[in-house]
Symmetry: C2
């Protein structure tokens, strides 16, 4: 019934426009009474986004069961639940994206849904980071970053007409957030793994260099070492990363 109503509503929104479709039109098309509509949807807007409540519930459940060791990874994976909901029905998702861009009321509705996802992710991070110090600040900034990255990838796919696999763009975007924040979110608990004495990683070419490409001038290495690490260990690790002997 819920599905039938959502489909009837969406067809009418596409045919007549969102504003000119009434709840009476929708129930007439679905062949049910007016009360049935409001039993399933608080408003016309809700019928356009019939899966967000389920998705929010799934996200909350997923996060409650998540491992404590990697909160940024957990909220990134939680965001992917939303992506999969969109990806499950590309045609509907793309049509709805176009409709939403045209109807201000749907855009503000969508903003409030996105805000609820963001608050759900921030709540999880806050519980893991603790309320002391900058825990709440970091939680909110990381949640906003994850949502922005996810939505960037999702929108690329929606604008392309829902062609191909949306996971690629979203994974790429979330990996960027992970790279920036992943190292900073390790909780100060005894369960955290010990940091290696030295770690050296080849990094992407710096944008400031005119050059680029593999092995070119622009390539850099980044090394992180504990103070007091013997110099020979530092040199050893750098040499093996740089390939210089």
């Amino acid at each position: 019934m819920r599905e039938v109503l959502a489909q009837a509503a969406f067809q009418l929104f596409l045919e007549r426009g969102f504003e000119r479709t009434t709840v009476d039109d929708i129930v007439a098309r679905a062949g049910v009474g007016r009360r049935s509509f409001f039993r399933y949807f608080p408003s016309k807007e809700d019928a356009v986004f019939p899966d967000h409540e389920r998705c929010l519930a799934e996200m909350t459940e997923f996060l409650a069961a998540a491992d404590d060791g990697d909160p940024v990874g957990a909220v990134s994976d939680a965001a992917r639940i939303v992506l999969r909901m969109y990806a499950a029905n590309p045609e509907f998702s793309v049509q709805r994206y176009r409709l939403t861009r045209e109807v201000p009321g749907l855009r503000t509705y969508e903003l409030s849904v996105v805000r609820r996802y963001e608050q759900t992710l921030a709540g999880h991070l806050r519980s893991r980071f603790g309320a002391d110090g900058d825990g709440a600040l970091r939680a909110e900034v990381i949640a906003a970053s994850v949502v922005a990255a996810h939505n960037n990838g999702l929108r690329l796919w929606l604008r392309s007409g829902g062609e191909g696999d949306p996971e690629v763009a979203v994974d790429h975007a979330l990996a960027m957030v992970r790279e920036v924040w992943g190292r900073r979110d390790v909780p100060a608990t005894p369960t955290a793994p010990a940091a290696p004495e030295v770690s050296v990683v080849p990094a992407a070419p710096l944008a400031v260099s005119g050059g680029g490409g593999g092995g070119g001038d622009g390539e850099v290495v980044v090394m992180v070492a504990r103070k007091g690490t013997p110099m020979w260990r530092v040199v050893q690790q750098i040499e093996s990363a740089v390939g210089e002997n």
Copy 2:
């Protein structure tokens, strides 16, 4: 006239509640005709936030005149324009914050204003980063981070009843975003300063270490070097940072 209408509206919202105040009530209190209201405000919601349009215009103007060398700094400073608007009238800002939390329509209105700020900041970053590669992605994620950090500091101050200087919390929050993103936003233009061959910086103690304190076990150094940098230069720089000979 605009100011008189906004004040009359806000007084009535506090006295009777937002929903139960009509535009007729507002114009009666202000002693003007109904049309005057709509000449200044498209809706009742707009009268609650009379300064955001001016603030958005000021932000756009500020960014258009901003130096190209430090886009993350520019959008952080642009966000502070919003803070100053709130800080200019603490009592009104705190009352409005409380009202907004209670009225769903005002909350969604506020979300759409925040989104417009975010898009303004993202647009500036996109224009500086370029549309190639991850420019748009980075622009959106950094804009979302700046907005989340700014709002975290602003909300702390609003929740405290508008006591003290809100700049302290906002500066602290924006500095965190700056630290994370500042190094990654250098535009690939010839005006950017050349990267040093090697740079070594002592970093804060890692949270994973049980120790801590100056010179203790937990301290680390971070080194960034271009590939091809002679090893002696690397060792020289690390030794001078680590203090080991």
